[in-house]
Amino acid sequence: MAKTFKKPEALSDQTTHYCPGCTHGIAHRLIAEVIDELGIRGRTVGIAPVGCAVLAYNYFTFDFQEAAHGRAPAMATGIKRVRPDLVVFTYQGDGDLASIGMGEIIHAANRGEKFTSIFVNNTVYGMTGGQMAPTTLPDQRTTTSPAGRKVEEVGMPIKVAELISALQTPAFVARQAVLKPKYIVRAKKAIKKAFQYQLDGRCFSLVELISTCPTNWGLTSWEAVKWAEEKMIPYFPLGEYKTPE
């Protein structure tokens, strides 16, 4: 019998440390499939963030560097500038990219650095126990906003895809979700486009992925998917925000 479904070569055999129902694993798989399909494993360098995906390099089978919290875009810049032939991507959470690393992502995007950022938005700091993030929704309870995010004190959640696409230089900015199959198919397409644009020598590309953190949201896997669909997608609309002319 022919094998019709197999693990991408770019993905390792290791069991992940992610919680049951966490969508980091789906994001990993999509990236691995795209890398396989584009045949670029031998010249790809990933940059792991500080966050739940800090050990991402254990789940991929190509070169990886591990960044400090938020600094992945600067590291990707360093690599891509000295080795333009490599395919480079950062994998970052919302605390990593939109809080401590906001400076690095904005400037890398604005310089038009020729790498790709995969941005996993799960509205909380998953790794450190579910604290408030720049993407936490209004009134959403977290361990540091026990009464809910008070927008009059800490402002509205940051819409990263919109923010980056407001810059003139980036080539491709999209937001998709890694929730149900219909979203996941579109998410993969966006990731593939982002890598393809990088291969074509286009400027910076970013794909924001609406994700879940069932553990810190205090929901079951399925409830978390529904919560993300009902609460996050209306605030963080899906689609392509910027495409090359």
Binding site: R41, G42, R43, T44, V45, I47, A48, V54, L55, Y57, T61, F62, D63, F64, Q65, E66, A67, A68, R71, P73, A74, M75, A76, T77, G78, I79, R81, V82, R83, D85, L86, G103, E104, H107
Partner: protein, 359 residues
Amino acid sequence: MGRILMKGNEAIGEAAIRAGCLNYFAYPITPQSEVAEYLSRRMPEVGGVFLQGESEVAVGYMIFGAAGCGARVFTTSSSPGISLMSEALSYISGAECPAVFVNIMRGGPGLGGILPSQADYFQATKGGGHGDYRLLVMAPAGVQEAVEMVMKAFPLAEKYRNPVMILGDGLIGQMMEPVEFPDELKSEPSNNDDWATSGMETRKSSRRNLVKSLFLDSEQLEAHNRVLKAKYDRMRREEVRYEPYNLEADYKALIVSYGTMSRVCRTAVDILKVEGFEVGMVRPQTLFPFPEKAIEEAVRRESCKVAVSIEMSMGQMVEDVERSVRGRCPVEWFGKSGGDVPTPEEVIDAVKSFVKELI
């Protein structure tokens, strides 16, 4: 190119190119912005990479990324900028990547001033960033020596897979002196097939490489930190550099001084010699590893009554001098850190007063 007159900052930039380093990332800050200005012109000429980052924080990680994928890379900054790069220095050391950082020191703390200083001695030699790591720190006393040290720094960084810091005071960057560039270092970065993220298909082996500093398991972290310690111990055995001065005489006092300050001290030693007042000097050229043995040996001289650390800080290197002297004689400090370099007369008065106190 024979001897030419060059400003320290520009000579440092040129020296890196001659050492085969064609990758430079930096953020402007007085008193070393001329390095970036010079290299923004020179790097394109030699087909190199020049990028002005958005902050020293980002620059630190651009260096980390580039070093991690196996490129020869360097940056220059001054004190407040080095504070911001200290996080990256810790990560780069932890991940064992080679890179060269130049600190043309200005006065501190805080915004401090823009005049020369040596007040980042602790930051350079004792850490600055978090964790158990060391930088190999070299301190030039002139433009020619800065050139030579920058050129040596790259092979040393690669030998140890560790960041090397050139610690110069503002005068080293700002003054013009005649320089001659040693023969170009054409060597490729040493073989990094077994660790750099150069892309799997570009290397001979088929393994994939990871550049990281995270070791969640206590035994693994312990083992990793012991590997690092063994490297620092090897530096202590193999890389100590210093210049002795007037140590043949029967000196009453031993001066320990580095960088621009040591040049003033040398003048003071010469003036005192004419008066018949002998003073010896050890000038550390490496601050880590520190020339402990040379200093300990020098104070064993029967005539030597006191060791004096003379530095443009409120007393930092003096702690290493005390450590080196091991209680064999009193240790004193003299210095200034507002931005004025002490004069030979001030040095002479200080040394004489320390010796007199002991008689």
